[in-house]
Amino acid sequence: MIKKFNLLKLNAYILLIPFVILFLVCTFLVYYLLEDKDPSAPPSALLNKKIPNFYVEDLINAEKTINQNILKDKKVLINFFASWCSPCKVEHPLFLKIKEKNPNLIILGFNHKDKKNEALLFLKDLGNPYSLIGIDKDGKVAMDFGVYGLPETFVVNENGIIIFKHTGPITDKLYEQEIKKLLFN
């Protein structure tokens, strides 16, 4: 009689297993759904990876070229921009402010799929916060950096590893809370 009772109890536990599994799956899904995720800003694939190689013409001095070796042993802020990109104009004053406060910081700009004269006019009108500007005429460099929407900003550490990426204009809050720490700590 006791044996039969134990068997029934065991059967009841076995029946509970699917419900437990279902509960776990639902918890897992709800956790991921409620997590603070922006579908328009997927995580960067290149985060914590080595900076891609590039070899581009300098926008200011056509006789000069720029490649990844100039970033060696330095923390660098990289920004993809274009004169036709409205959000780039929004974040531009912040880059000027960063450069003004930190004159030794290297800010590398990549002028993306732009006309040279329009890019130069953009910088003349709004100011030039960049230490160097490479021309990414055909978007090849942007593709290697996994850029899909302008503006995009990266922080690269002394070992040439990408430690931060942001799609869209950077804000004061973002700079103060995240970028500054990565650049100067």
Partner: protein
């Protein structure tokens, strides 16, 4: 026109036609491969559209890059790896079968198998009792 010259022209015509057919068929194959790959890729600047369907600047650039790599003789896997290295798995509509996604791929099968095992155990037990 002597027979030799006639043969020469005939061979020339055949050669030109064959080259033309090969050229058309190879470009068709490239187009087909491009369509096959781009149908599996997400346009990252669009609302839930494939790169195949989209005409955005981003999608057109990816299409051009894929075509360039196809012409270089790169395989579908090499091209997909090239893109997912840069843009992450987000660019793929179908998650890749790797260690990271093992749970995602295998869990439904594990769940179904577990259900069958439970069902089997219960049926055999019921039979024994009756």
């Amino acid at each position: 026109m002597n027979k030799k010259l006639k043969n020469y022209y005939l061979i020339k015509k055949i050669f030109i036609s064959a080259s033309f057919i090969i050229l058309i068929s190879s470009s068709h194959t490239l187009e087909n491969n491009l369509a096959e790959i781009t149908k599996e890729l997400r346009c990252m600047t669009c609302q839930n559209q494939t790169i195949y369907e989209s005409e955005s600047d981003f999608s057109n650039q990816i299409k051009n890059e894929i075509m360039r790599q196809l012409k270089e003789g790169k395989s579908k896997k090499q091209i997909i790896d090239f893109l997912s290295y840069r843009y992450g798995e987000y660019i793929l509509f179908r998650p890749q079968f790797d260690k990271k996604n093992l749970f995602l791929w295998l869990f439904p099968f594990v769940l179904i198998s577990a259900a069958f095992v439970i069902l089997f155990v219960r049926i055999t037990k019921n039979r024994r009792h009756t």
